[in-house]
Amino acid sequence: MTIYRRMNTKDRNPNFFFNDDDHNEVDVAEDSRFRDNDFFSDDAISQEADQLSFMEQESAELIWVKESCNIRITSTDTQAAVSLQAALQVAIGLVLSISILDGDQREKISQELLQISDVEQTNRQKIFIYNTKDARVRTVDTDIAINIQLLFQILLTLVVLVDIL
């Protein structure tokens, strides 16, 4: 039996929710950015691109069981954890976008806040069980648990500041 699971949070980050009023209508022909192919001159936009990819995380797990019997394997469902993490990031962005009107200021703050939880990490596990009987294996992804805790505390602190709770 082989179980293989791989996940990368980078692909799941919804990175469009901060941008509501920074994009003004631009005349394509007139705008120098389009003429010179310089799309990165607008600070607010260029910052936004890397804002959330700070949180780069990868979990890979490989479990082999061979010529064995009565093996029990428990492994944390990273998928649920990753989506919870994304939900928390969205929530932090939401509170900021409602409470801070100045777009530039907001970009900077949200960037700094999410940088606190800038935990670039790779978690790889390989487990090989061979010629074994009656074994129990349990794997935990602690990194993501810590990250979720941290993001939730940031969210709580913000919400208290805004006087909601």
Binding site: T74, T76, A80, A81, L84, A87, L88, A91, L94, V95, I98, S99, I100, L101, Q105, K108, I109, E112, L113, I116, R136, R138, V140, T142, A145, I146, I148, Q149, L150, F152, Q153, I154, L155, L156, T157, L158, V159, L161, V162, D163, I164, L165
Partner: protein, 74 residues
Amino acid sequence: MSHSSKNHFPSEKVVQVMVDSILRKNGVKREELKSNISEEQKQMLKEMVEDLRKQVEAFQQSNRTDEDSDELRD
């Protein structure tokens, strides 16, 4: 492991100080934050946070119960 992570990292106060200093550095005043938000929005955000709180607790709980039940059997 979830026990130790909960107790040692990151302390609530540390996060509070960090968030506060980031806001200060960027020149955001507390009063400003409060005044920009309507009662209706407050209510909505409150519900959202409560919902997330439940999810986070459920997640931590699921890690913990697995661990405890394992310990009991050992």
